[in-house]
């Protein structure tokens, strides 16, 4: 078990390096002078050069990366070019929103998908075909489009929930919940059907195993076989899929935060992209990469808990 976590942590180090270096190298490779894009076309060449020196843009890429990395290790991701705030301060303010969103969406996806998939595996027939059809629709509908439709129906037309914006939990738990319902539903919709399909296949496979028959031969009731034995075995491949699903979810938050005007990391990344605020966008990439690393770690822990065979070696 610890070996497994250790291995994943070791794997995480190159991941973080690659993400940060990729982002960084891309920035360094930018055609044109960064100072020019910051100061605009009215600054003199001398002013540009001065800023380049000040920001270290005149040094070789690897040296710049080394400096940047040293600062990152001290928790300093640089300063936003547009707001002049520390990147960490700016991103941390959006972290809570994005965390609530992705954790909520993951929980809804996992619970709903597994329940739906199990039902479909046991009942088969029409329920199974319906799951297939809905899964295909969930795959085909663009997340932001679904968000727009949900927003229009539930917020604009029926006034059930606020259309946009976010209320922190500390200010109003009720408002917080209401502001998250639609974004979470939008994000969960696509993933849930995928998870349901995977659960269904995995559950069918599990229920055809010899040990399920052996449990029946023990006289164990069917519902107990499903809840106590089959579900746990069937969940093993599903958990792995949840990890991959989470990576996709991070992409989804970018769009969904834009649709619902939530001040999260995703909408910050979009704003930073339009404003060419490179430190912020690189910082956001690092935040997302750390998130992926943590989730993969969590997936491994759950995997080890579910499957005792994974705990050895």
């Amino acid at each position: 078990m610890w070996w497994l976590i250790g291995r994943r942590l070791i794997l995480a180090i190159p991941l973080l390096f690659i993400v940060s270096f990729l982002s960084f190298a891309l920035v360094a490779l930018t055609p044109g002078d960064p100072a020019v894009s910051i100061l605009g076309s009215y600054a003199t060449p001398a002013q540009d050069a001065a800023l380049d020196r000040q920001l270290g843009f005149n040094q070789p890429v690897l040296v710049q990366y080394g400096h940047w990395l040293a600062r990152v290790l001290h928790g300093n991701l640089g300063t936003s070019l547009s707001s002049a705030q520390a990147v960490t301060t700016e991103l941390n303010s959006g972290l809570g929103v994005t965390l609530c969103l992705v954790i909520g969406a993951t929980l809804v996806t996992a619970a709903g998908g597994v329940a739906l998939g199990t039902l479909s595996a046991i009942r088969g027939g029409a329920v199974g075909r319906a799951t297939d059809a809905v899964a295909m629709l969930g795959f085909a509908i663009p997340a932001f489009w679904l968000g727009l439709v949900l927003r229009d129906l539930f917020a604009v037309r029926w006034h059930l929930v606020p259309a946009t914006g976010y209320e922190p939990f500390t200010q109003s738990p009720g408002g917080w919940f209401r502001s998250l319902i639609l974004p979470v539903a939008t994000l969960a919709a696509a993933g849930m059907t995928g998870i349901a399909k995977q659960t269904r296949d995995s559950m069918r496979d599990t229920l055809a195993r010899d040990y399920v028959d052996a449990l029946r031969a023990d006289g164990v009731p069917e519902w107990r076989i499903i809840t106590r034995h089959a579900l746990r075995n069937a969940a093993i491949p599903v958990v792995t899929m949840l990890g991959t699903f989470f990576v996709g979810l991070l992409g989804g938050t970018v769009l969904v935060e834009s649709v619902f005007a939530l001040p999260g990391l995703g909408s910050m990344a979009v704003t930073a992209t339009t404003e060419h605020d490179l430190p912020v966008i690189v910082g956001a990439a690092v935040y997302f990469a750390v998130g992926v690393v943590l989730v993969n770690l969590l997936v491994d822990v759950i995997y080890g808990w579910l499957d005792p065979r994974a705990r050895v070696t």
């Binding site: 489009w145 006289g219 992926v292």
Partner: protein, 630 residues
């Protein structure tokens, strides 16, 4: 291709997809208006004769804009697919085919790549390159490579291990040629599936980017930016959103359906059609009950049992008119080659037939109660509580995620109202009874921590948990090595002597039957062919006493029964016929060295030949009365 046309959903998806692509390609000729021609007098019109799909907030024709807007969207997808396949397919092929360090390095990179948050990286690229979409699309193509590599690699691995590839390698064909001539063609289906999925993903992705404002520059239409524009006028005209999102959804849906269909066609062809699993027992067939009654004193009595499976919409018998009795405390061996139907008989008794098999006719009476096709709570009380079943593979019968202690305690508590503590105590006693050393440690073990012999002892302990009166053991020693076999046989015999348990042993091994059983019932091709006390069949001088030629040959083919000094074991010529191909007359007649013309005339009934002995051979039929129905 022709196979695809037989799947209506897949064929329809392909046709719609081609229509969309052709229509967008022919936009300059098909579009009724120029995509940018504004007409503010006609803004936000619904679908009508002048504008089939209505107009947007500037009065531009939606149909024309969708046709033109599909071009950047589809071309972007094409670019992404080209990049992804161009890198992913060779990388996956090489990793899978070369193996070794190349494979390990590739898979490490894939692991890292899978964890990259694609959307944010693409935003970084866009930000750096000042919104140049082409570069962002290439980046997206690269980001979609890792999952493709993984899939192509495992497909290549599967093909690599096949014989003809090995043969090509051994005969010195260069690796590159093997990959392109032999491996790549086999992966066509997989690659087509992945190409559709990548196309769908990139379509979704680019429309998402366009919605965020990183797409075609206005006024040039694109599906994504049209959705973004539609969201601005959502309150006035929801139709716009339906039209623009609908075309994206429709295209992605068709790509997905196409991918699913191709996958079903290609992957299923290689792995064999997945048999659909019936979770709950199929409805019980109307059971024809034979007239004769169970003899007094039988604990289990099977009468006229016929089991069928569905094959090409036809009920094919795998067990035909089998009758047998087991008295309390008796051990009966059910003997035959694989395919004789002996396991189906055993599974019928406990109501756990597999693979869609069902009881077509006959009656199973346990202790005077008809238990044929029992379901629900009554079946649960019977299983484990009255009749215990040990399946063939001791390890496969254990839930890999459940410790032995709780598993057995559950079995105990299914049949006795006892506390968890008392159940635990009983489990330890059971493990001790099954002669497992250190029961406390075994109870804490997961199945993968046990050896095969220990797993079989656990299976015996588990079978005893409900204090059954009959134990059915299906090939209890088949998966074990010889010394462990002897121990398990000794264990079962000891239990039988101590507890007076009745045992039905299903086996192909005369050695097991000789050691354990009082009586042997021999099955061939779904029928009982002979029944006799074991002492009258086994032991070299008794060979000739078997009444049925099949029993004689089966005995002679057994290594333990061969006469000393024999160098070659006789084999039975031919193979056991598959269900559905049984002759109407004596099932064994095509392989029987003694077959006469009288053997092929008609069905041969099972008849008494002596006290407690029956045979289904024409030649052994004296003046005795037939027993049971043919």
């Amino acid at each position: 291709m022709t196979a695809l046309l037989r799947r209506p959903a897949g064929a329809a998806a392909l046709i719609v997809l081609l229509l969309i692509i052709l229509a967008c390609a022919a936009a300059p000729w098909l579009a009724p208006y120029h995509p940018d021609t504004a007409n503010l007098n006609d803004a936000l019109a619904g679908p009508g004769a002048a504008h089939w799909l209505g107009t947007d907030e500037l009065g531009r024709d939606i149909l024309s804009r969708l046709l033109y807007g599909g071009r950047p969207a589809l071309l972007s997808s094409l670019l992404v697919v080209a990049v992804t396949l161009g890198i992913g397919v060779p990388a996956g092929l090489l990793a899978g085919f070369l193996g070794g360090w190349a494979d390990r390095l590739t898979m490490q990179l894939v692991d890292v790549g899978l964890a990259l948050p694609a959307m944010v990286i693409v935003l970084v690229v866009l930000s750096v390159f000042g919104g140049k979409l082409t570069i962002a699309l290439i980046a997206l193509g690269i980001l979609l490579v890792p999952p493709l590599v993984r899939i192509v690699r495992s497909a290549a691995l599967a093909v690599r291990s096949e014989l003809y590839v090995d043969a090509a390698r051994v005969s010195g064909v260069p690796p590159a040629r093997i990959v392109f001539r032999h491996v790549l063609p086999r992966l066509r289906g997989t690659i087509l599936v992945q190409a559709s999925i990548v196309a769908a993903l990139s379509l979704l992705f680019t429309t998402g980017l366009a919605y965020l404002g990183f797409g075609a520059t206005p006024p040039n239409p694109s599906w994504g930016s049209m959705t973004a524009e539609a969201s601005q006028t959502l309150a006035q005209s929801p139709w716009l959103l339906v039209a623009s999102g609908g075309i994206i959804g429709l295209t992605v849906l068709c790509l997905g359906l196409f991918a699913d269909t191709v996958r079903d066609l290609t992957v299923a062809r290689w792995t064999g059609e997945q048999s659909s699993v019936r979770i709950f027992a199929p409805p019980r067939a109307k059971i024809r009950t034979p007239a004769d009654e169970a003899p007094a004193g039988a604990l289990l009595s099977v009468r006229g049992l016929t089991v069928t499976i569905q094959q090409n919409a036809r009920a094919v018998p795998v067990v035909q008119d089998v009758s047998l009795d087991i008295r309390a405390g008796e051990t009966v061996g059910l003997v035959g080659e694989s395919g004789s139907g002996k396991t189906s008989v055993a599974r019928s008794v406990i109501g756990l037939l597999r693979g869609g098999a069902r009881i077509e006719a006959g009656r199973i009476v346990f202790d005077g109660v008809d238990v044929t096709g029992l379901t629900g709570a009554a079946a649960r009380r019977l299983r484990g509580g009255q009749i215990a079943f040990i399946a063939q593979e001791p390890m496969a019968a254990l839930d890999p995620t459940c410790r032995i202690g709780p598993l057995l305690a559950q079995a105990v508590r299914c049949h006795q109202q006892v506390s968890a503590r008392e159940a635990r105590q009983q489990v330890l006693d059971l493990l001790r009874q099954a002669q497992l050393p250190d029961p406390e440690r075994v109870a804490r073990c997961y199945p993968h921590q046990l050896s095969g012999g220990m797993a079989q002892r656990v299976a015996v302990a588990r079978a005893l948990a409900g204090r059954p009166r009959l134990l059915i053991a299906d090939e209890p020693t088949a998966a074990l090595d010889v010394t462990v076999q002897a121990e398990i046989i000794a264990l079962l015999r000891g239990l039988q002597e101590q507890t007076g348990l009745a045992i039905l042993v299903v086996s192909h091994d005369w050695g097991v039957v000789a050691e354990l059983c009082h009586r042997a019932v021999v099955m061939y091709a779904g029928q009982v062919v002979e029944e006799a006390p074991v002492t009258e069949l086994i032991g070299a001088p008794n060979h000739g006493r078997a009444a049925h030629p099949y029993t004689r040959l089966l005995l002679a083919a057994n290594p333990a029964q061969a006469p000393d000094g024999a160098t070659e074991l006789p084999v039975i010529p031919g193979t056991i016929p598959a269900p559905g191909e049984w002759p109407a007359a004596c099932h064994f007649s095509p392989r029987c060295p003694q077959a006469a013309t009288s053997c092929t005339v008609g069905p041969v009934p099972l008849h008494d030949i002596a006290a407690a002995r029956r045979s289904r051979c024409v030649l052994s039929a004296g003046a005795a009365e037939p027993v049971g129905q043919p």
